[in-house]
């Protein structure tokens, strides 16, 4: 059963390499996108931490900023 699945009537090399390349591309794109996302989020948290109290309070009034900060704490 396993041998049949791997061999695919002699086309195993082609079929598995096509599926392998697809899954590898998916994985690579996901990792690259995730790294970019985490990097931007960390940059935001760092900048936010450097704001003085009044500016931080002003920035915190925006819902989107609260959302980014809460998302960063979940990483």
């Amino acid at each position: 059963m396993i041998n049949e699945l791997l061999n695919m009537n002699g086309y195993g090399l082609y079929v598995w390499s096509a599926f392998g390349f697809t899954l590898f591309s998916f994985g690579s794109l996901y990792i690259v996108t995730k790294i970019q996302y985490v990097k931007e989020q960390s940059k935001f948290v760092k900048k936010f931490g450097n704001l003085d109290t009044s500016k931080a309070a002003q920035a915190r009034t925006q819902r989107i900023n609260q959302e980014i900060l809460s998302g960063a704490s979940n990483i």
Partner: protein, 235 residues
């Protein structure tokens, strides 16, 4: 008109969606892979090599769909002066590029056992390669130019020229005598593909669509955080 798409409002939704989309994607992909690799029948002519279709065809469809969407969004962004539409278009491009690449590579792998060659300068394959170049140019423009207005204009021009290639890709197999087989699936007429193969193809297409949605959401959220980062600098 586009108030519903305001980044401040939309982020509340888009930041929560990826975890649900990734879960759904994994489930659909596992079902799709089982159907494509185990349960679907082999072809009477191509034998098991036909299984490559389950990654090649959805990748080609989605890359064409994404490029068309990018063009519509770019034109709309330009007409309605909406930067957010350009941002949505930009966030769609990486997955479109990767799907285009997957379609070309898996097509090449499929070509070897069926046509006896990895590559042919066939109308369908060449026009797909041209689409990949347009995707590449579109992505490069966003990287090299600092002036956003310039980026919006140039990227829109690229998509406007590139969209001419989309119907060429679609009808290349009908207009020219090519190695590539004609379309087996027709929305307006009866499809020549058997339901036992159409079902896994549909599931794999759904999985690929969910993956492109996931990448789009992550990329779009990254772009919105980038804007907010600049906003903090201005405080």
């Amino acid at each position: 008109m586009f108030k519903i798409f305001e980044p401040n409002k939309i982020f509340l939704v888009t930041s929560r969606l990826p975890k649900y989309v990734v879960g759904l994607f994994c489930i659909v992909l596992i079902i799709g892979l089982a159907e494509a690799l185990i349960f679907s029948p082999e072809d009477y002519k191509q034998s098991d090599a036909v299984r490559i279709m389950y990654v090649h065809v959805p990748a080609a469809w989605i890359s064409l769909g994404i490029f068309t969407s990018i063009t519509i969004l770019s034109i709309s962004g330009f007409i309605f002066k909406s930067k957010n539409l350009f941002l949505i278009a930009k966030s769609l491009a990486p997955s479109g590029f990767v799907f285009n690449l997957i379609a070309l590579v898996t097509g090449s792998i499929w070509g070897k056992p069926t046509w006896g060659t990895w590559w042919a300068w066939d109308a369908r394959i060449t026009s797909m390669l041209i689409l990949l170049l347009f995707y590449g140019m579109y992505l490069i423009v966003w990287r090299i130019y600092e002036d956003k207005e310039k980026v919006y204009k140039i990227s829109m021009i690229i998509t406007l020229i590139g969209i001419i290639n989309v119907p060429i890709i679609k009808y290349s197999v009908d207009w020219w005598n090519t190695l590539h087989q004609p379309a087996s699936i027709n929305i307006l007429a009866k499809s020549s593909i058997h339901s036992s193969m159409l079902f896994p193809l549909g599931i794999m297409t759904a999985a690929f669509a969910l993956f492109s949605l996931l990448i789009f959401l992550m990329k779009y959220n990254t772009e919105l955080i980038k804007i907010k980062n600049k906003g903090l600098d201005r405080l």
